[in-house]
Symmetry: D3
Subunit: 136 residues, 6 copies
């Protein structure tokens, strides 16, 4: 069993808030991340998949394939976007990195399994100091 991790980046705006709460209540719970005028990040996304090495090829999933899946399923939909208002699979969810990790997992899993690989981990760094990991 071998693990392969592909790192991608994207830039997006977001806001942490519950729509039914007042700005004051959101500020109290989510702090400056609830700013109604948005803020944003350079997110770093690392997707890890696992599988058995093919003796013929020396790998189990082509990196180009893995890169294309991440590009199509995630980056094309979130890069230079507003995570609260423009990303279909985040609709109805608070735009925390935690919720993003779970949502990204659900988007990536079927596409990766088509290639006989297993999705192992979705890791998202919001800043160089804050990182979320989800293993399904």
């Amino acid at each position: 069993m071998i693990y392969i991790t592909r790192r991608e980046t994207f830039c997006a705006a977001h806001r942490m808030c519950r729509d039914e709460w007042s700005d004051e209540k959101n500020l109290e719970v989510f702090g400056k991340c609830s700013n109604p005028n948005w803020h944003g990040h350079n997110y770093v996304l690392s997707v890890t998949v696992r599988g058995e090495i093919s003796e013929e090829l020396g790998f189990f999933i082509n990196l180009t394939t893995l890169k294309q899946i991440i590009q199509e399923k995630i980056i094309d939909k979130v890069d230079h976007r507003n995570l609260n208002t423009e990303v279909s699979f985040m609709k109805g969810k608070i735009a925390t990195t935690e919720n993003m990790a779970v949502a990204f997992w659900n988007e990536l899993k079927p596409a990766i399994e088509k290639y006989g690989a297993k999705l192992h981990r979705v890791r998202i760094s919001e800043t160089e100091n804050n990182t979320i990991e989800y293993y399904g």
Copy 2:
């Protein structure tokens, strides 16, 4: 003459656009950075000042002082903010990193000169691949 650089980070939303242009025209000129629903970055700001070392102290400006100036003049005003709509010294300017570098210079210069130091360079990295520098 010695040069000292302090690195700080901030997270903000922005959009590149001319308000009097249509979304189509902005998209044509500024690309995906013109998304009307905003996007954002983890900006890295590096401020370099220069001066002569004091023999008594072994430095010419206290790093804590430099850090406080940057915090008060810049970070407090841009971190977790919308650069287009919430930052007074960016009003009326397109929120490019180029314009930010010049505006930051103008905000920092008088405060740093009060301490007998010279502002040498403002450097802003928008992403790990894109960096702007301004020397006045």
Copy 3:
């Protein structure tokens, strides 16, 4: 189950040695790290906690809370300190990164469990090339 990692840094002096051994014996066992006049590092501490996402909030522990716990329990006690002589929870222990990881774990665990989260991992990088991890 989701994992969140907060990265902090601190600067400290230390020395690897057994007090009852001669400087020669310490040098033989611990190498240049046993220098009796101390040396030091910019340590990078990454603390990982795990829990279930609250549907109401989109996270299970507020990053500000996690940051405050690490600041109060660890950083305030080790930053700009001598790890051999000034840190109560390192008293009587050789100031290796291995022992620090275990000691940090013991300091952090009760504080993190008060918030319903589980401490998952303490990771300390002494240099960019040397990293210790402890999972309890």
Copy 4:
């Protein structure tokens, strides 16, 4: 149980190909990585070993020892080398990072176990975006 990771780097040339295939077939399967005139990387190798801390020493394997094992068993044999033609333990294998991780594991394991430690993970980053991990 404590985990210690040592990071080393090496520069090498390689090519991904099956010798019995034509250049066209190799290009189709392995893309530009199959260039018959070689290309190369700054590989980053991180070796993680685990063990119980000795109370007398505050560690379970001396970092200098670990560094020497990696130097002798791996770095001396791959640094500034051609991975396809000059590395005995890669002979007959496609020079993918996946195959390298497994081969490195087999080279390192007996040497590390001599010191009473367990090899836990071999991680190789081919670029800042592509990383392979093997746990035996």
Copy 5:
């Protein structure tokens, strides 16, 4: 006057040698970098251009344009290539990073000046420890 730097990466094989010298002589002068079977690097290329900000646009050269110039003039010709044998503008030159910086400058300068910008600096990092800069 504002400075903008675009960072790109490429992977290539090379060898430092004078063809008319013996392998022994090359080894004596160039060390392990003269290995006749090649080695390689993940090169990091940073190109800095300077100009006056357009008031209408908030920049003086579009980053996408700058990126395309670097891609077309350099990356397409060196990425996953052998710098000694496959790169036309390196023919007849020893494949040192110093010579590469000068050659890259000559390739980039006319293309950048077409856009009214000035090429300021070509910087190439061969490894994280070795960097070359050329200012024309």
Copy 6:
């Protein structure tokens, strides 16, 4: 004219203080960096030299030579040392990074000029956020 930069690291203890001042006075002026029990850093030293490329060799100073000069003149004397008490060329000076940069310059300059190169810059990062540069 070409510029070459070599990056090295060292770990050392220091304290910022004037010996004739009380601990209180030192604390007031130098803050927590004046802790009488020392603290330390992983310093990153980057030395830049400049010269004309030799057509015969493709460089003007061998990187191995540059590395050896830095090792012998600086790293061997400061690594795993106490900068206040164990480094001859820092005697009588406050152990600030500013004073270190000037002292390193004076140690390196004659050795580098012996090879027909010019010392251009000494850069020292005390932490990832604080950097000093000296150009002579």
